[in-house]
Each structure stands twice: as structure tokens, then as C-alpha cells.
């Protein structure tokens, strides 16, 4: 009968308490009833035996656990990936990301292309900040050819790349709130992005996939419209600092990676400084490079910053 079936309460505090007490007493944890391998059927693939240890551990369901497919058509997965989520009640206890939905075989295409074509293929890899994607192969080709971009081009590159970084991170903040249900901040992010997109379209002719970098420099010189829009944006940027950031439904401000995300352990995981900083690691413990990294143009730019800005950077170091 249905009353015979014991479905464990996902927030079974007594069971967690028992596990804690057993651990404190030095006993082995209580043996859980063996789970049943669920295969892939429930998440859309044909059933077959597990191939790896991790697959077996993931797809074996104990009592009260369920596999939910958070498919590529989900606002928070952005059409890029599929998350097979193992839940116990409402608590997520394991995730298996399935990738490949946005993979376009760019590396394979680049095998058949000349270096000029490669620079256009890599543009849409991170379409929110295209110039970063072009910057890397441009520098790589310059190293291979032994050519050097003129200093003016290096300054334009640094300027344009930093603008790309600003509008990409600004959009990230908007999407961070959107993925958690807040519909408003993304509008502000897009306003900010639109101002910068206008100035980048003045300098490169494109609004999104800029195709701006060349081996040995950039495609167009900076023009008056670019500088005029840049100045106007910079004057207005400080006024936007007063806007409130993303909040959760109780009105508390959200910190990226603060209370909601998982935590990294102490062991190295191959993540950089920004992710660790988001976990709350102190800046003094984290190793860091200079403000602009190791590129020669960046070092020159850092020397050219006025002293007040340098002081400001030292007090509030970016990461």
C-alpha cells in the first residue's frame, strides 16, 4: 500500500543530525539503501550501462531522488548547455553539465583557413566581448611573424579591449540578476552597453562582431566621433554608481558568488583570481599580477596613468 512506502524527507534534519553524531562518535555513517541506476531515459538519452565511475555515481538514484533535465532551452542556460540535475526534494545534490550545444567546430574551420580568416572566425567565440577573442590570435601571429604593432595601435587596442571588458561585465551583472528572476537590472546593463557599442561602432564600423584587429595593428584609427562619445560616456558613468545593484526577493543585495553559489575547497581547482575573490578569499592571500598584466602596452599604459588614479587603483585593486 502507499502507506508502506517510505519517502525520506529531503530536509530530514534527524537524519543529518544522526549522520553528524555518528561522525563525531567515530562510527561509520549509516548504510544507505542501495540506489538504482536510472540510466539516461529520464533525461532523454537511450538507456545503457554506466561507462565511468562518476556517471554511475551521478545516475544512481536512491529513494526520494530524481533527475530533472534543465535543458538548453532554459533562460538560465542561455542555449549553451544542458544541466542534468539530481534533486532530493527541492535540494540539488548533484549536477552533470552536458555541453556542446553552441560548439561550432571553430578549431576545425581554422585548420583550413589562412591567418586573416582565422581572425574573423574567432570573433564570435565570446560574442559579448569580441575584441578579446581577436586580440589573442593577433598577438600570437605577431609573435610568430616577428612584427610589432605601432605604439598608437597598441594604445587603441588596450583602450578598445578595456571598453569591451566593461560592457561585457556590465551585461554579466544584468544577466546574473535575470537568471535569478530579477527582470529589471538587465535593462540598465543594456543601456550601458548601448552607449559603449555606439562608440565602438564609430571606431570599427560594427556594432557587435567587430573584426577590428589585424596582425600588426588595428583596422581603423580612432576618430573624433569615438572620442566624443567616449568622453560623454565617461562623464555619465560616475552618475550611474548610485544605482542599486541586484537584490533577491527579500530585498537583500546579492553578491556574486556570495551566499547562493557553491564553495570551492582549499585545493587548487584551476580557477583564477576573480573566482576565488568571489568566494571571499582575501586579496592579500591571493596571488595577483599588476593592474594590467604582462603585456608591454599594458605596462606602459600603467606608467602613463596619472598619480591620483594610481593611488585609487592601489586602494581598490581591480581583479
Amino acid at each position: 500500500m502507499t502507506s508502506d512506502v517510505q519517502i525520506p524527507d529531503p530536509l530530514d534534519l534527524e537524519r543529518d543530525e544522526e549522520a553528524r553524531l555518528r561522525a563525531a562518535a567515530g562510527l561509520a555513517p549509516a548504510p544507505r539503501p542501495a540506489g538504482e541506476y536510472a540510466g539516461f531515459e529520464s533525461v532523454g538519452l537511450p538507456d545503457r550501462p554506466p561507462e565511468t565511475e562518476r556517471e554511475e555515481e551521478l545516475y544512481t538514484l536512491a529513494e526520494g531522488e530524481m533527475l530533472v533535465n534543465m535543458g538548453p532551452q532554459h533562460p538560465s542556460t542561455h542555449g549553451v548547455m544542458r544541466l542534468v540535475v539530481k534533486v532530493r526534494g527541492e535540494v540539488v545534490i548533484d549536477i552533470d553539465p552536458v555541453l556542446g550545444y553552441l560548439h561550432r567546430g571553430i578549431e576545425k574551420l581554422c585548420e583550413e583557413a589562412t591567418y586573416t580568416t582565422v581572425l574573423t572566425y574567432v570573433d564570435p567565440m565570446d560574442y559579448l566581448a569580441s575584441m578579446h577573442n581577436e586580440h589573442a590570435p593577433a598577438i600570437a601571429f605577431e609573435k610568430l611573424f616577428g612584427v610589432r604593432a605601432p605604439r598608437r595601435a597598441e594604445y587603441i587596442r588596450a583602450l578598445v579591449v578595456e571598453l569591451n571588458r566593461v560592457f561585457s561585465h556590465g551585461l554579466m551583472m544584468g544577466f546574473l540578476a535575470l537568471d535569478m528572476g530579477g527582470l529589471t537590472p538587465i535593462l540598465y546593463s543594456f543601456i550601458n552597453r548601448d552607449e559603449i557599442v555606439d562608440m565602438l561602432s564609430a571606431i570599427s564600423g560594427q556594432r557587435m562582431l567587430f573584426n577590428f584587429f589585424r596582425v600588426g595593428g588595428v583596422n581603423f584609427d580612432a576618430n573624433d566621433e569615438f572620442f566624443s562619445r567616449l568622453g560623454k560616456w565617461r562623464a555619465g558613468v560616475h552618475r550611474q554608481r548610485g544605482l542599486p545593484g541586484p537584490h533577491d526577493r527579500d530585498g537583500r543585495p546579492l553578491r556574486p558568488g556570495g551566499d547562493l553559489a557553491g564553495r570551492l575547497g582549499a585545493e587548487p581547482a584551476g580557477v583564477g583570481r576573480a573566482v576565488r575573490r568571489a568566494q571571499g578569499a582575501s586579496l592579500l592571500d591571493l596571488p595577483r599580477a599588476g593592474i594590467r598584466g604582462h603585456h608591454p602596452a599594458g605596462r606602459r599604459l600603467e606608467r602613463a596613468l596619472p598619480a591620483a588614479h594610481r593611488r585609487d587603483q592601489a586602494e581598490h585593486p581591480p581583479h
Binding site: 565511468t52 565511475e53 556517471e55 555541453l99 556542446g100 576545425k108 609573435k143 587548487p268 583564477g272
Partner: protein, 275 residues
């Protein structure tokens, strides 16, 4: 650009100074020309006033020659084996000090250092690079595979970063094509799991000890390794539900024997059909 005081501020100091000194200055300096190398004085080429070499250096500022690549770009593109330890950087000295048996497999150009090793030695070397208190290469930026050709080996390339020096380090671990096995490094860096799955999926390199070595982009029942140099698209078309809608997936597209001398005389040389 000319500002109020009438001087040309757009040009560099050296150029301004040279142009302002006026023409016909004698043999001591450039005489108002931009380039100090021209030795013909104005007014009489038969009267050569070659300045003494020392005086010319002292008198005029040399114009920067932008045609020759300078700085880090000047020697790049050629891999030089480390034969002059006196010119090696501090990182290379430290690596040689810690790993003396790597002296023959350490390569450097001006701004990057790389180590070429065999695949079996990779996790041990990476663990020592990460845990040594003077090296501290704590960040694994990338782990990727390279296929050098149909008859050649694979390489697994690891990029490590340490901000202590600060330095990037590249480790190239050679993997045989016939037996593509290499030990895993997921016990050192958790984040290497996805990189190793991608290398398995795309190249077919098997990571011994990896707990979750399955395909990451392609579907689990896929049979080829797409990033290999000998990957042929028509081989997979028969398995896919599309079954060759794309002309690149049809074997007849890749059949060069149909381009005979009747259709395209002299274009195709010796093409034999695969029978």
C-alpha cells in the same frame, strides 16, 4: 600640430631639434636633414664633408627606426635551444636548478619558457611545479591537445602560471598515436576534468586514472574523433540521422576521380580512386 608658440609639437624632440637647427650646418651634424646618415653636404657634392664617426654620434640624436622590429618581437618565430645559460632568465635558472635532467628539453624565446617531456612524466612534473615553494605554479590555465599530422604523434600542452616570478610556463607532453595514453592530472587540479574530457572526445587521447572519461561535446554513441587530422566527415554521415544532407558529408563530394581530364584538363594530377 602647431600650438601657439609656433613649434611643431606633433613631432618628437629629436626631429624638432634637427629641423630647427637649420640647413647647411657644416660637417658636425646632419645639417637640418632628418637623417644623419647622408654625407653629401648642400651646395657641392664634390666637397665631401664626412663627419668623424665619433662626432656624428655625439652631435645628433639618432632617429628611431621603426622598420626593424624591436623588443620582444625582435627574435621571435625561431625556437632557439637553450645553449647560453648566462642569458637565461631567472625562471630558467630556477627550473634547471630544480630539474637538472630537463636541461636538454627546455626551450625559450624571449617571453615564454616551455618544457618538452614524455607523457608519462607529466603529472609528476606538474605536481612538483605546483608544490615547490619557489616555483608555485598554482594556476592551470589550459590543457589542450595537438595533432601534428597523420603519421605523427600527439601532444598534450599544459599552460601554467605563477605570479611569484611572474611567469607563464608551457609543458608539452608527447603522446604516441598508436597508443594514446597519458596519466591524468585531475587529482592535482579538479578543473582539468573538462579539459581532459574534451581531449578524449576530440582527439581520442585516453587519460589513465580519470574518473569520468566520457565524451563532452559529441553524443555518447559517436565513433570518431573530430579534431584528428585524419577525420573524414563522410565516415560519420552514415550514422547520423541526417545521413548526408550536407554535401560535405557525402563521399561523392570528396571523390576527386570524377574530375577527369575531360572536364578539367591539367588540373588534377595523379588521382587514383579508392577501390
Amino acid at each position: 600640430m602647431v600650438r601657439g608658440d609656433g613649434h611643431l609639437h606633433h613631432l618628437g624632440w629629436a626631429l624638432q631639434a634637427q629641423l630647427q637647427r637649420g640647413a647647411g650646418g657644416g660637417s658636425g651634424h646632419a645639417g637640418g636633414r632628418l637623417c644623419a646618415r647622408l654625407s653629401a653636404a648642400p651646395g657641392g657634392t664634390h666637397l665631401r664633408h664626412d663627419p668623424p664617426p665619433g662626432a656624428r654620434q655625439a652631435a645628433s640624436r639618432r632617429v628611431v627606426d621603426l622598420r626593424r622590429p624591436r623588443g620582444p618581437a625582435s627574435g621571435l618565430g625561431r625556437r632557439r635551444q637553450l645553449t647560453a645559460p648566462a642569458r637565461a632568465g631567472a625562471l630558467v635558472r630556477l627550473l634547471l636548478d630544480r630539474f637538472p635532467d630537463l636541461a636538454r628539453s627546455l626551450w625559450t624565446d624571449e617571453d615564454s619558457v616551455e618544457v618538452q617531456i614524455d607523457g608519462a612524466a607529466a603529472p609528476d612534473l606538474l605536481q612538483r611545479l605546483r608544490d615547490d615553494p619557489e616555483l608555485t605554479f598554482w594556476y592551470l590555465a589550459d590543457a589542450a591537445a595537438v595533432d601534428y599530422g597523420v603519421d605523427q604523434h600527439f601532444e598534450v600542452v599544459y599552460h601554467l602560471y605563477s605570479d611569484k616570478h611572474p611567469a607563464w610556463l608551457r609543458i608539452r607532453a608527447r603522446v604516441d598515436r598508436g597508443d594514446p595514453h597519458i596519466p591524468t592530472i585531475t587529482h592535482l587540479w579538479e578543473g582539468a576534468m573538462f579539459h581532459e574530457r574534451e581531449m578524449y572526445d576530440m582527439m581520442g587521447i585516453i587519460f589513465d586514472g580519470n574518473r569520468d572519461l566520457r565524451r563532452i561535446y559529441m553524443s555518447p554513441d559517436y565513433r570518431s574523433f573530430p579534431q584528428r587530422k585524419d577525420f573524414l566527415l563522410p565516415d560519420d554521415a552514415a550514422d547520423s540521422p541526417a545521413a548526408g544532407v550536407n554535401p560535405l558529408e557525402r563521399p561523392e563530394t570528396w571523390d576527386l576521380t570524377r574530375l577527369t581530364d575531360e572536364l578539367a584538363p591539367g588540373v588534377i594530377g595523379h588521382v587514383k580512386s579508392e577501390t
